[in-house]
Symmetry: C2
């Protein structure tokens, strides 16, 4: 079945008349190439740093919309401005993407983070589909294999952990690996990764969920055990889990893996029960699985992306299963998100709320918010 | 003049009957040596990691109290348990202190942070004064010169900034350098650093205060200019400034540098006006000097240490100057801190409050809170 029409229309309107125009108006650096992502409430630029995750995600998102929504030459041109800038300046002589460039394109932060490569894969793959540029296809695959190579040491020589630290497998790495397979499958039009997709889904579902607690952990020991004695071992990130679960639900559905599709739905329900703030509403950013003190000061804040991913997960689960509990959750999260994150007196959405739902920052984009979670959510929900 | 008797008594009572006993009861690892600092509300250990800053600060504080308050052999024994553990396991073969050890003493996080050496200086110097152990004196001096050597590249090979990033001088480095001179002067009984103390005071006062805005910045460009175009350039940390200013006020007073003593007092007033939350009370953790979006999600939270340092700064300024505005500020901060941070149903003080004054964590110690800011504040105010 399809998702409810009134929401689909609302989400597409928000995408086309609010979110996309904001970024079209303000994010493009027409002087040096690439994008501004540190955009204040009125679109003014409060920092010109070019963070690699944020940059490549814009290439991806505008290319996606060109591929899926409308052959709008302006969107392709915006994607090209980033693609050209990032492939020219973005990586070191080993091909690793830096974490940050300055406005002019000089490297500002070392390539210590494998997710810089990860988001390059997404940008290049969708840009290839938009343009047919074989160089973009090659760069997508090269960056992908580089990302995979970084599995066991994603920070490279910048890793600070030593022999006395417990090494972990991190959910983030594998959920993005799965997402990259899906992005490559779709944009390169290949089924060559299907076997790996199945394996990765199984790995995530069988590795990170604690069998007794039922909760999906962020970090699991290399031997598969759960580390309940440390802050990092007990760390959970409900937004990550919800994002991972809709990746799994979506891929499982496409490949006819019914059991895993259903498993991901159960985990979504469990995660919402676990992550929802029953007093103040909204989903917590982090939680200690045993309720002990969390390492992060901002653990109880409410973040836009967590709620965007939760909206996708619940709307998609409802569409696939027709189970009313998913619609109930969708509407609850929808009311919270549209009531608190959407800027009713301005454009786009706020990023950060305190526990009580008050915006703590006026920014619409920054070091961690770009043209990505919100437009992806609006587009996916609008097209279910 | 001396500070007001009722407060002095209250602070010393709190130190002797609440703060010190809590740490005596729970922080000592009698099995492996060193300390537990991840202590929950009831003193239970929620992580056994041994963070270098937190460890050496305990050695320092118990040694200080042994030196200044009472020749209590239990305190010296607690200091020794840390000193022995840290000098045995704490540093790599180049003599750099790791950032973190595991419970048993194996290195868990690389020595990427110059403040690990910084707090070793403090711990060793006070431990030398307590014991006369020449090895501790030598280690204090060695660690101090190591800290100073790290001035231009404090993160060593773990530095991620590259040529496209604006390099800064950071207030934190120089305020701690000044504090270390003072600690060495006092505990080693030497005047050999007096000239450097004067130079460092001048450097801090003349480098980090913006001449027009009057605000002390956290980061200043190498050429002395202020970077108003970036998040890092506009970063201010009122708690750091208040801490730096009482270091300067105290050292200036001891050396008879009247002009600098007065300058530090003016900056204290300015910082309180600037950093105080006029709606919800308390001092902000961070502020963007132009009011633009702050990089840190938790910028508007209220932290115990900021208020401890503010209490010292205002009480000391009042004692030295007899100006009523400092007493007014002291009482305002006192009422806020004792009303919100002190755990009225348990022991010790909470660390983190949201903007509205609600504790967000139950912890009494952690990765960043140890036996340091609170007991130092209680002791100093109690003895002014």
């Amino acid at each position: 079945m399809a998702f409810i029409e009134k929401y689909k229309k609302l989400y597409m309107d928000e995408l086309l008349t609010n979110c996309i125009p904001f970024w079209e108006d303000y994010c493009v650096d027409r002087e040096f190439g690439g994008y501004f992502t540190c955009l204040d409430r009125d679109g003014s630029v409060y920092d010109t740093a070019k963070f690699m995750w944020m940059q490549w995600r814009i290439v991806w998102m505008f290319s996606e919309f060109y591929n899926k929504l409308e052959r709008n030459p302006r969107w392709l041109q915006i994607a090209k401005i980033g693609y050209d800038f990032l492939t020219k300046y973005g990586k070191d002589d080993q091909g690793w993407y830096y974490f940050e460039l300055n406005r002019q394109g000089q490297p500002a932060k070392a390539p210590y983070n494998a997710f810089s490569d990860c988001f390059a894969v997404m940008g290049c793959a969708a840009y290839y589909k938009a343009t047919g540029d074989e160089g973009a296809k090659a760069e997508a695959l090269r960056s992908f294999y580089q990302y995979c190579e970084r599995e066991n040491n994603p920070k490279g020589r910048w890793e600070k952990s030593m022999e006395g630290a417990t090494p972990y497998k991190a959910l983030g790495f594998y959920m993005m690996k799965l997402n990259l397979y899906d992005v490559l499958k779709e944009n390169l039009g290949t089924n060559e990764f299907d076997e790996e997709i199945v394996k990765t889904i199984d790995f995530v579902l069988n590795t990170f969920r604690h069998p007794d607690l039922g909760v999906v952990f962020e970090n699991v020991c290399l031997d598969g055990s759960f580390d309940l004695d440390t802050m990092n071992g007990r760390m959970t990130n409900p937004g990550h889990v919800l994002e991972a679960m809709w990746f799994i639900m979506n891929s499982s559905h496409k490949l006819g893996l019914k059991a895993n599709e259903e498993k991901s739905m159960e985990i979504i329900l469990k995660t919402l029960d676990y992550g929802w703030d029953t007093e103040q509403e909204g989903i917590y950013y982090f939680k200690d699985v045993l309720g002990k003190p969390h390492l992060e000061l901002q653990w109880n804040m409410k973040l836009w992306w967590v709620h965007n991913e939760a909206l996708i997960a619940t709307a998609m689960a409802y569409t696939l299963s027709d189970r009313k509990e998913f619609l109930d959750w969708f509407e609850r999260i929808h009311n919270y998100a549209w009531g608190h994150f959407k800027d009713k007196e301005g454009r786009e959405w706020f990023a950060y709320l305190d526990r009580f739902g008050n915006p703590t920052h006026t920014l619409k984009g920054g070091k961690w918010k770009t043209f990505f979670h919100l437009p992806r959510c609006l587009y996916i929900v609008g097209n279910l």
